[in-house]
């Protein structure tokens, strides 16, 4: 008698070894030097030797705040006066929209990060992008048409 075929042995997948606790950075990079060189040449072709970070991505990681851009944050958008599509569809007219007081509105305007880099205050003095930060730590003065911090060396 020829019996039925034997059962297929269950192949147990061996668990991979845990990743190393410490990596010697120099050895790790040097052992992959060839791959790194080829990858670097590909990236050079892609980026066209332009390694500058994009302007809209220049933020420190912790203080990055995209509340204005997020559509879920409705309260802040209403505060800023940005007309949402949902609000427009609901039939609210511009007259009914809540207007901000000038001090709040002006503060948000001066906080903006414009492309040319400067905001103009009431007496036609230009503010730096970092004006708010510098105003907390330095004495500010108006020189040559700019609002500049006074630094002692």
């Amino acid at each position: 008698m020829v019996t039925a075929g034997t059962k297929k042995p269950q192949v147990s997948v061996p668990t991979p070894p845990p990743p190393p606790w410490k990596i010697n950075l120099q050895k790790y990079a040097e052992s992959r030097a060839l791959e790194l060189h080829s990858l670097q040449s590909i990236i050079e072709n892609r980026v066209n030797n332009d390694y500058r970070s994009q302007k809209n991505k220049r933020r420190r990681t912790i203080v990055f705040d995209n509340q204005i851009a997020r559509k879920g944050c409705r309260r802040k958008r209403q505060k800023l006066g940005i007309i949402d599509k949902a609000l427009a569809k609901s039939g609210l007219e511009e007259n009914h929209q809540k207007k901000l007081p000038r001090c709040v509105h002006r503060r948000y305007e001066l906080k903006k990060n414009l492309e040319n880099g400067f905001c103009t205050s009431r007496d036609v003095t230009k503010r730096l992008r970092t004006h708010v930060w510098h105003a907390k730590w330095f004495a500010m003065t108006k020189l040559w048409g700019y609002h500049l911090p006074l630094c002692l060396q």
Binding site: M1, V2, G5, K8, V13, Q40, Y51, S53
Partner: protein
Amino acid sequence: MGTEFETIEARITSMLPQLQSECGILQRMVYKNKNQHRRSSYFQRLLKVRRDLRLLQSANMEELVSSCLLVIKGDRPKQKLHLLGSLKRRKCDGDKHNFMERLLGAARLLAEMVEPILKAASEVSVLFAQSFFMGFSVTIMALLARLRVLVQQILLDVVSLFNMVSSLSISKQSIKITHNGIEVFRDFYPVSDDFVTLECVWKSDKFILLERKHKTNDESHVEDSGGNVSVQTSDVNYNSIESFLGDDQLFHERVEADVVAKEDPNHIDDMNTDLLTGSSQIDDKETRYSDQDTTKAFINESSQEAGLPASSRSSTNDKLQSCPKKVAFVSIKNLTLMRHKS
């Protein structure tokens, strides 16, 4: 062909553990640095690379590659038959996909993994340019460089394995199974369906996967050449082939004659009855094989009565295809007789 798949086997079995270890290091790096970097764009790219690697791990590449190598090598004939038989299942049947479809899915995933790796590397190179987080960026660049090379090489090997297995599954072949000293020849006939071949084309900085569908030859031509090929491929020489190729009427007449002749206890009559019981077993196996589609092969001596009506039901086409199967099972009977005598 032989040496080619051996190099592919050696290469891919050495690369898959490397890929696993690199994946482990990447997950560890992501885990450690998630709090500090999580909002930045380069870290979002890294998370996409990690997602693709997890998908690839869930595809279970080691099992797929070992299945392909079993089909190509043929050193375990039962499993080879099982795997080739599973290819005949259609995609509509049940939830499970056969291993070729899973391998095709894995190849598609490998082809799409290269682009997120390159984007993540270009974002991390901006960190390099600013010399921010140098330890982190050096490690990630080295990791991505190795991952890119591994992924593309595995893709090439998977594509060539896929093409080998698909060409094997199209052609007709006979497989020899040895179990406890008894040899059985099983013949594999392909289904006349469309089959897919894969091709990789290098475009500027990565490989792109192309899928081509082909159609098999005409069915009549396949059936005509099937009988000849199957007879030629089996190397065993059989003595009494012509006695089984007769018509149904002759078969019934022989049965009646032998029933009458059973009363005389002669040696020649014993041989005739043994041959007839062997033929009835053959008919029984045909019906069971067509019903169950299993690779099991066993002998039932008590199925003489059930075999006779089955032979009348079978059509001429089935007879043409099943001729070598009949011949193959007679040899088992002879071998068992030899064992009983010795």
